[in-house]
Structure formats: structure tokens, C-alpha cells
Symmetry: C2
Subunit: 320 residues, 2 copies
């Protein structure tokens, strides 16, 4: 079901509601990385992340009856904002289930987009359970963060655009949390350019996908403490993992320091703000995690939402 | 001498050596500013600022004999890096006279581009005097930071590009230190669109141009302590001021808080890094300093070079 046609349909469906983000290159980065890198800047996407694509596709694909009742989503971050904004665009009621300790800019942005926010205690409650209760009680359709073909297809549209602009890439790198972005993007990439080599990238501290890839089945890890807060999933998605197994050549990992150093490089040299999760794939390119024969690499900078407090820590010289 | 033809020649001369920077828009910024704003992103220029344009034009316009001997420049910041990089591009020796207390990233970047750095004590020595000594001793051509027609024409090329992309602007705003950028950009703008209204923008703490504009002659102020370090000139240029008098409708000023808040808005909402000086013109748009009947505004984001220490201060929540 997740094939090029389905992703192209998603692209048509969401086009009026998302940015076609720019593809940016930098001689400075290329020299440091030792290869030619093409950044797909989803940090410049509406609501600050690629999540806007999947949320819009899911919501726009609902039946008129479902849209009339509304949607519910559980997310600690960018998916929440995306569902809130995509719902407002579509005139659909949205309830977002967020942990009470989510970054306050993300809570505020979600409410700012007009969504109703229901908070829960991350230590005591299960977010999927909370969302399911809300969904059943009020007849709302769930917009899952990744484990859904419409959502994954929406995320994959960023790869459609990237390969349209730069058709001759040797490899595609995306950050990998639950795997929706990688699933959609790798299906699009392989369909448009069959020989392209696809690599999901994780934080070393959050390597549930790498462990699962090696073992050949979904592994669950304890809650990871990575700075890449969009990557704190504990196991790959049930729908996304088989796609990842089929399309990934390898699962790459980067250290926490490498993530922060890459964020700083992108900020101070390229002058663009990328959040830690968004910098993970770029870190793999910058710190030589790719096979040596990969020359031209597409890298998804997946988001740019950073709390001021966090950014102050990342850029302080003691972090260097 | 500073006319459209001269600026177009500059554009042809520098084209292979500078970026054609993007023009960026943001619904979020427009809503906050209450007008339609088109940002010319010179923070994404080579060496991180529009200064690369003027330096390249000046150096490329030298005679072969002058180029063989080399150039010297005095600057505490972006002009230094620009002259260093433009000289390296052209295979020309460069000596840069910088204050010993210049931001260390700027000292390092200048040396990194292959220039020889001569430091001086800002409290005890006059930088123009130091540069003149070096120039005379070694037969080097001076590349002035603003008070030179080739330099101002080079800076003005950013307005050529902006009006080519967005011809129907009502107004043009640029930051104003010595006035090279405003002189070049306003001449280009008025030639391409005679009715356009041009506004240089300063920090309130560094309003030598505003005072001069009101008085009708060049006024010198004490060293200003503004966070906009590219704007610490104490008097407008002798060549640039008459151009400014002819082309400026008014000189706008913004407070230090408005500058930092604008920097934060551009960083956290638009995801682009702009230095304080670079945010000054945007601050005038964001904080309602323009006449109410100005609808479509071009704003030059003049540079993006910020020290990590400084940025950590700007983004820390206590600055909010």
C-alpha cells in the first residue's frame, strides 16, 4: 500500500497546505564532510517540521463524517503542532494528548494553533491509552505519529521533492524515530532511483531501530535519554519496520556530542536552526558514518523547533 | 558616479564570486508586522554578510599592479572576513587591521581565510591610522569598509537582485552603519523603481546618521555601546552621507530590546540566524517604525555572524 503512487497521491493532496521546502547546499559543510550533501530543509516546513506533511495527508484523507467529528493525536512535540495546524487548516476539531513536561514552546504552539490540549503524566500513564479513551469517548479519529500508511506517505513526499530537484543522489539519510519518515522517504526514493542507498539514522542512546534491524524483529528498549527528543520512541512501528527492513542498507548511529556539534555547525556556519533530532542525519554525514564510496547524499533536516533554554545550552561554549 | 550603471557593472564583476542570496517570506512575520515583508538574506552570503559584495567589487576593480601588491583593510568584523575571503578568491595578499578585542570567531575566521591579521588597541590607537601606516609601508591598496564608490556599488547589488525578484516594493529598509549598504542599495532601488521609499535603520544607541540627517551635516557621536556591533561607527561616511540625504525619506531607529527580540523571532520562528546588526532593519518592520501606508517592504538581513557566547546570551530566557 505504501508505494510511489500512494505517495504521489499524498503529494497532490497536501500541496496547497505545506511548503515546498528548499534544498540547500554548503561548500563549507561539503568540505567538512568530504562529500556533496543536499539538505532538504524540513526545518523550514510549516509548524517547523516534516510532520506537517503526514498530518495533513491523514486528515485530508478522512471521510466527511470523520472530519466532522474531529481528530485526536498523542505527541510530545512536532507531531502535536502539525496535527493542530493541519486541523485548523481543514476546519477540523483537534485534541492533542501531550505529556505535562513537554517543552513549553511546544505546548504553547499547539494551543496557539487552536487545538485542545489534554496533558498526562508520562511516568504514570500510557499516552496511547489516554488517546484511545479520548477517541472512543468523543468519536475522534486518531492521527498516529508514524505507524500509519497515510502518515508515512505524507512524510515521504519530502523525498519526492528532493529527488525531483536532485535526481542523481547516491544515498538518502533521514533521522529515524518511529520510522514514518524513513519508510515514506525510502519507498519514494527507491521507486524514483532504484539503486539509491537508504540509511535511517538514530542517536546511539536511542538505537531501538538499529537493534531491531540487526535482530530481524522489533526490539523494545528502555526510555532513551537522548537530546534528540523526537527520537525517544522505544520500538520501531509495526507497519514501518517491515518497510525499513526492506529498504535500509544499514542503520547508522551518532553520539550525543556529534548531534550537538552538528546543530552548532548548521547554526553558525549555514545560519539555519535545526533541532537535535533534525540534525541527526546530518551528523552521520559530517562524522563519516557513511560507506566511503557514497559521493552525493540527500539529508533530511527534519525539524527546527528548539526551546530557547535548550538552545542556550547547546550554543554555550562549554558544550563545544 | 554611484549610479545604476555602475552598480550593474559591479553585479557583473562579482557574480562568479558571491551567492545570489534567497528572498524569504514568512506568514508568521507578516502577521506580527502587519505588512508583507520580503527578506533579502545576506546572512546566507559567503563569509556571512553582504560585505562580501563590496569587498569583491573593490578588489576585482584594482589594476593588475595593485592586485600584485595586495590590499589592507581595517574592520572589527564582517568587512574583515569579506576582504580576507575576496582576496583569497582573487589570489591577492590581504592584511587586516582588527581591534585586539574583536569577537574571537571573527579573528579566527579572518585568519582562516588566509589573511594576515594586525591587531591594535582600540582605546589607544586609531584604526585608520594603523591601516594607513601598513598601506604606505607595504604599498597595499586600502579596501575601505564603506566610504568608497566601488564598495558601496558592490553592496548595492543585493538590491538589484531583490528588485529583480520582487519589483513592486513600496519601501526598502537596510541597516545603516557607515552607510555603504544604504547608499548602494537605495541608488539601485530608486533607479529601478523611482517611487520607492528608502529608510536606513540604526540602533537608538548609535544614531549618528539620524542626528546627521536631521541636522543636515555629518555629526560625530561618542563610541556607541549597541549590541549591533556592525553599527558602532561614530559618523556617516563623507561619500555615503550625501547619497543618504538624497535618498532617505527618514532615518528610523530601534531599541536594543527590539533588536534582540527580532533576532529571536527570526531564529525561533523563521529558523534563520541573523546577527544583531543584521536584524536592525527587520526590527523596524516588526515594531511598527514605518509609516502606516507602507504595504510591501524589502528588508535586508545584512549578516549572520554571531559568537556562540553572544548567542547564548541572546536566546537565554532571561533576555525575553
Amino acid at each position: 500500500m505504501l508505494n510511489l503512487e500512494f505517495i504521489r497521491e499524498a503529494g497532490e493532496r497536501i500541496r496547497p497546505f505545506v511548503h515546498r521546502t528548499p534544498v540547500v547546499t554548503s561548500r563549507t559543510f561539503d568540505e567538512a564532510a568530504g562529500r556533496r550533501v543536499f539538505f532538504k530543509c524540513e526545518n523550514l516546513q510549516r509548524a517547523g517540521a516534516f510532520k506537517m506533511r503526514g498530518a495533513t495527508n491523514k486528515i485530508r484523507a478522512l471521510s466527511p463524517e470523520e472530519r466532522a467529528r474531529g481528530v485526536v493525536a498523542f505527541s510530545s512535540g512536532n507531531h502535536a503542532q502539525a496535527v493542530a495546524l493541519a486541523s485548523r487548516d481543514a476546519g477540523v476539531r483537534a485534541v492533542i494528548v501531550m505529556p505535562s513536561d513537554a517543552p513549553r514552546t511546544k505546548l504553547a504552539a499547539t494551543r496557539g494553533y487552536g487545538a485542545e490540549v489534554v496533558t498526562y503524566d508520562r511516568q504514570l500513564e500510557d499516552r496511547e491509552e489516554v488517546a484511545r479513551r479520548v477517541s472512543e469517548r468523543e468519536g475522534l479519529s486518531v492521527v498516529p505519529p508514524y505507524d500509519d500508511y497515510h502518515v508515512a506517505a505524507g512524510q515521504g513526499t519530502c523525498a519526492l521533492e528532493l529527488f525531483e530537484e536532485v535526481p542523481d543522489l547516491d544515498a538518502l539519510l533521514t533521522p529515524c524515530g518511529g520510522g514514518g519518515l524513513f519508510a515514506g522517504a525510502s519507498v519514494a526514493a527507491k521507486a524514483l532511483r532504484p539503486g539509491v542507498r537508504c540509511f535511517p539514522v538514530e542517536s546511539e542512546l536511542s538505537d531501538d531501530t538499529r537493534q531491531s534491524f540487526i535482530k530481524g524483529e522489533r526490539v523494545t528498549i528502555p526510555p532513551p535519554a537522548t537530546v534528540a527528543d523526537g527520537m525517544r520512541t522505544q520500538t520501531p512501528g509495526a507497519l514501518t519496520f517491515p518497510v525499513l527492513r526492506a529498504n535500509a542498507e544499514d542503520v547508522l548511529t551518532v553520539s550525543e556530542d556529534e548531534i550537538v556539534e552538528t546543530l552548532r555547525f548548521l547554526l553558525f556556519r549555514l545560519k539555519i536552526l535545526v533541532e537535535p533530532t533534525g540534525a541527526v542525519a546530518a551528523a552521520a554525514a559530517l562524522f563519516g558514518k557513511l560507506p566511503p564510496d557514497v559521493g552525493r547524499v540527500g539529508v533530511v533536516l527534519s525539524g527546527g523547533n528548539v526551546d530557547p533554554e535548550a538552545l542556550a545550552r547547546f550554543v554555550a561554549p562549554t558544550m563545544a
